[in-house]
Amino acid sequence: MTSIRSTAAQMAEALSAGTITSVELTQAHYERIGEVDSEVHAFLYLDKEGALAQAAQSDAKRNSGEIQSPLAGVPLALKDLLTQKGIPTTCGSKILEGWRPPYDSTVVAKLKAAGVVILGKTNMDEFAMGSSTENSAYGPTHNPWDLTRIPGGSGGGSAAAVAAFEAPLAIGSDTGGSIRQPAAVTGTVGVKPTYGGVSRFGLIAFSSSLDQAGPCARTVLDAAMLHEVIAGHDEKDSTSINAPVPQVVKAAKKLDVKGMKIGVVKELQGEGFQAGVLERFHDGLDALVSCGAELVEVSCPAFDYALAAYYLIAPSECSSNLARFDSMRYGIRIGDDGVRGAEEVMKLTRHEGFGPEVKRRIILGTYALSSGYYDAYYGSAQKVRTLLMRDFNAAFAKADVLVSPTAPTTAFKIGENVDDPLAMYLNDIATIPVNMAGIGGMSLPCGLAPEDGLPVGFQIMAPAMRDDLMYQVGGALEATLLAKWGAPILDSAPLLAAK
């Protein structure tokens, strides 16, 4: 019997078998949202009317025998930094309050073309800057495992929606870990595809050379199915890769890692990692070994500098990307009293419209790009990027994929780190190298930390354009762990399981 707790693949099958309609499925999800979202606050906007119309259209097509894509009729939650024509898009920022884009992002266009039903827009750290979703101008999202804790960030809304069964699938974006870290702390699956694998057209830029949209799901196969819908070359994005999309669905179904070499990154499992996180990570390693994979230790010394380089590159690019929010063409406008000039109004609007973290990064980036400082900061950070890529190349010469814990800790308490930006930045220590090198990364659950009973994420990193390898390893690991646990990990989420 299909329910909101089914996987997306099961829902797709039921739709195709005619045991449920897309309208029923969509309504069931809105009911769930109605029940739990006042507590979780995963969504910023619900497009009930549009979604039900989409669902009805999908049902009509199915009835008329039209061949549809595998995910047609399955509902999805969309991170609020992808444009959807006519639907409010805020990026979690006050400065974009009320803005309705006049165009669809390529990801949305592909979702629509595939008949996927878009339920609404999910909460996020303002302009994707953060690791906790506390930086949203519209209030934090709560972790379905423990409402007093953060759901990760920046894509906490998307991950929480999937974890709380408000949507079987969601789209996130990952600049330094914004898909993977929320997946880790909510017990879900999140994938950052190879840079250029999914079009960035219509993805509101935080850091252009790092941003990448990707799937959020409850299983590796579901993520793969969504991955194939949104990936592919796009002429509107100059950095989009013009090559066939890796066959990730096929890879996720293989469930075979015999003889594969798994590189364990030495630098990502010591100091600063919670004991229970490391313990569960080793359970994951054991599971892979039990499937016939071979572990090799790899060393990536430049990883120690990745965080520092990231916190120069991302703010630098964001200081330029966010310059357009100036109240002239869209968004809110503050202080236009008919006397003040444009420059003054821009300054007031940006003061009111941006939150503290966004301002902090804009100022940091402005500094790093200033003449006289460029070489020392931005320039050096770009060199570290080269070193990181060299480390990855060397490591991938020894191993098919690399693995590490996704995040150093389980979900922390809301408010715990807000006053310490550096401590907050440490959450991304294991995820950032992947963005810097443009390769693919996946997080999937590998158990609950014994000390707090909260989910732990296992990260798999694959070479550029070999996203299929992480799905292959992820699929096998997931199956092995599921067999061991006897039930999906989300069934043990104490709070919402009861609902």
Binding site: P102, Y103, Y195, E343, R360, R385, M389
Partner: protein, 98 residues
Amino acid sequence: MAAISRDDVAHLAKLARIDMSNAELDHLAQEMSVILDAVARVQEVAGSDVPPTSHPIPVNNVVREDVVLPSLSQEDSLSGAPAQAEGRFKVPQILGEE
């Protein structure tokens, strides 16, 4: 210790067109100093023999044909405008250079 003064932050805020109170400037100057101290370590490893990487995936020469494609309508172009008049974006007076 990278010392960032309030004046430094004020200058950056001006470049970035963000209005800031003195309290905000002071607070940010303090934070910036701490953050810059932490990120300055990028200078330790990257020698002059290391080329910078700005694009993670090496691709060159992506161009499009010189073909006119449909534009947005005037209504759609102006749909987000806080104010408009005569088919144009209406903005506060622009002071300064022509």
